[in-house]
């Protein structure tokens, strides 16, 4: 669908002009201009919606959240606003929430990474992530991207959504010996000054290379371990713990 949720072009433009950086929240998962704007939440699925100031400026969105079958079932709604070169570091969703990402328009240069797949969304598509799924997204186009991010309780059933069986999967290059060597050499450059920037670079690699979403954490731990700088080992551990929890293997701490 070219007009998501039945919103027209003017309503989409209203959203774009209403979301302003000062009212946003940039989490530890954000790389560059990747900003979340809380819209509404419910304490429980049958409790009334609690609106933010931003939501009060977008009555049509509130109306949709209060009346539409999908919107009405959500326990939290946020707007994700992104610019070119922005991305999210791999992160795990709420362990008890389904998460639905609905693009406001067709963004062909926006890629979604989950379960070792990279996909874009066609018009009318939305991405549903099961509770606790690790995912990452990247914005590579010049146009500003806006997504509505909805969280649903674990007991919610996505019956109203039609599964898309043929994903628009993107091809990736193999991660070969020369790339592995290049990664190992990064330890010669790593320091507390640039470690987070290196980690951001590692997080971008699965968009182009055949790597899973755990790889940035494994690489970061290996690089930190090779440097034998305790501060870097702690930082690598912290990033893993905060973004995906410590349930992955290959944790290398010097």
């Amino acid at each position: 669908m070219t007009e998501p949720f039945g919103f027209d072009r003017f309503q989409r433009e209203k959203v774009a002009t209403t979301v302003r950086v000062p009212s946003s929240k940039s989490g530890i998962e954000a790389i560059n201009e990747w900003r979340m704007f809380p819209v509404a939440h419910r304490d429980t699925h049958d409790a009334p919606l609690q609106l933010t100031n931003l939501a009060r400026e977008l009555p049509f969105l509130v109306n949709w959240l209060e009346t539409a079958l999908l919107g009405n079932a959500a326990v939290a709604a946020r707007l994700l606003v992104s610019e070119i070169d922005a991305a999210s570091r791999p992160h795990v969703g709420h362990p008890d929430h389904w998460r639905l990402l609905i693009p406001f328009a067709e963004y062909l240069d926006f890629l979604y990474l989950f379960e070792r797949k990279v996909t874009s969304l066609a018009a009318g598509d939305a991405l549903l992530l099961e509770p606790g799924t690790i995912s990452s997204s990247g914005h590579f186009g010049a146009e500003q991207g806006i997504h509505l991010v909805l969280d649903f309780p674990r007991e919610w059933s996505p019956n109203g959504l039609l599964p898309v069986t043929e994903l628009s999967l993107c091809g990736r290059r193999p991660f070969g010996h020369s790339q592995t060597q290049a990664l190992q050499r990064i330890s010669y450059l790593a320091s507390p000054t640039n470690f987070d920037r290196i980690f951001d670079l590692l997080c971008m690699l699965p968009f182009d290379f055949d790597l899973d979403l755990e790889s940035p954490f494994d690489f970061a731990s290996e690089i930190a371990g090779t440097t034998q700088i305790p501060e870097l080992c702690e930082r690598a551990h912290f990033l893993r713990e905060v973004l995906v929890g410590c349930r992955m293997s290959k944790l290398v701490i010097a």
């Binding site: 946003s24 590579f140 000054t193 987070d196």
Partner: protein, 297 residues
């Protein structure tokens, strides 16, 4: 023969090609080059304090979210407090009205306001850095810019050309925006600079009521030394990883790196060019060139 590489400003800077024996230590004059006083930016005066009232008022102001600075990494932000043509033109009453009376008094005491264009806060709440850039070209200056560091710490530094330095609280710095420069905050702690922009001045001391230029050698910081063979090979091998999607992140890695090693602020774009050429990817090359034009002109 073992070789080493150099990005010194008077050598083949930016080319990933060997030009020194690795065993030979750096010549004294090359070391001295990095300890030279800055050619552009300098301390031009001092102010008393900053007083605890001023720090308190600015900290309160910075608690509110502001626009994030484009071309920066992390939460490096700009808060415009005053601009020429403000309803109370020529007076800083408006600063008092927004809860910054101590700042208004300080600026009125230190500066002549005739040619003042902007008063802004350059802030970061925790880690962040500004990509190396020029604010304007030497032949077309936009402003004469002065920094008053009010809240700062050891984790903050600025680079200009081949030099790394720290602005200390109580100093007033003239910042030469025509030279490639950058700034960083490596600690998870607040940094607040009050920045005043005046019409370009032929005499940079003219806007100051009590000019007191100082030798600022004590502000210069030492780094790890020059990049060695291993580091340069590691930079070169980023060509195996760079793509048009992660190019900006490669640049940010290099940008942060130049705060650790003796390399000039603009060298990062030359490294990026070299990596792009080695990657042999036309899209990557063209974007690397576009980034260099965008940040350095």
């Amino acid at each position: 023969m073992m070789r080493r590489y150099s990005y010194l400003s008077n050598s083949s800077r930016g080319k990933l090609s060997p030009n020194h024996d690795v065993q030979s230590s750096a010549a004294p004059e090359q070391v001295a080059e990095f300890l030279q006083p800055l050619s552009g930016s300098r301390i031009v005066a001092r102010f008393d304090g900053p007083t605890s009232k001023l720090v308190e008022q600015l900290a309160a102001r910075c608690a509110a979210p502001v626009d994030v600075l484009a071309d920066s990494v992390g939460d490096w932000a700009i808060d415009c407090l005053w601009r020429r043509g403000h309803p109370v033109a020529g007076s800083l009453q408006s600063l008092k009205d927004i809860g910054l009376p101590s700042l208004a008094d300080l600026i009125e005491k230190q500066f002549r306001l005739d040619d003042l264009q902007y008063i802004r806060l350059f802030t970061t709440q925790s880690c962040g850095f500004v990509r190396p850039h020029r604010d304007w070209q030497p032949e077309a200056p936009k402003f004469s810019r002065y920094h008053m560091p009010v809240i700062t710490h050891q984790g903050c530094a600025n680079s200009e050309g081949s030099t790394l330095y720290r602005m200390a609280p109580g100093e007033i710095w003239y910042l030469d925006g025509s030279k490639p420069h950058s700034g960083i905050c490596t600690a998870r702690s607040k940094r607040v600079h009050v920045v005043l922009d005046f019409d370009p001045q032929s005499n940079i001391l003219a806007p100051l009521r009590q000019p007191r230029p100082e030798d600022h050698r004590q502000a210069l910081s030492k780094r790890e030394g020059r990049l060695g063979l291993e580091q340069l090979a590691a930079i070169q091998q980023l060509s195996e990883l760079i793509t048009s999607r992660n190019l900006l992140h490669v640049l940010d890695t290099l940008g942060a790196l130049h705060f650790d090693y003796e390399a000039s602020s603009d060298a990062v774009y030359e490294w990026l060019d070299d990596i792009a050429v080695a990657a042999n990817d036309r899209k990557v090359c063209s974007r690397a060139a576009a980034l260099r034009r965008s940040y350095l002109g």
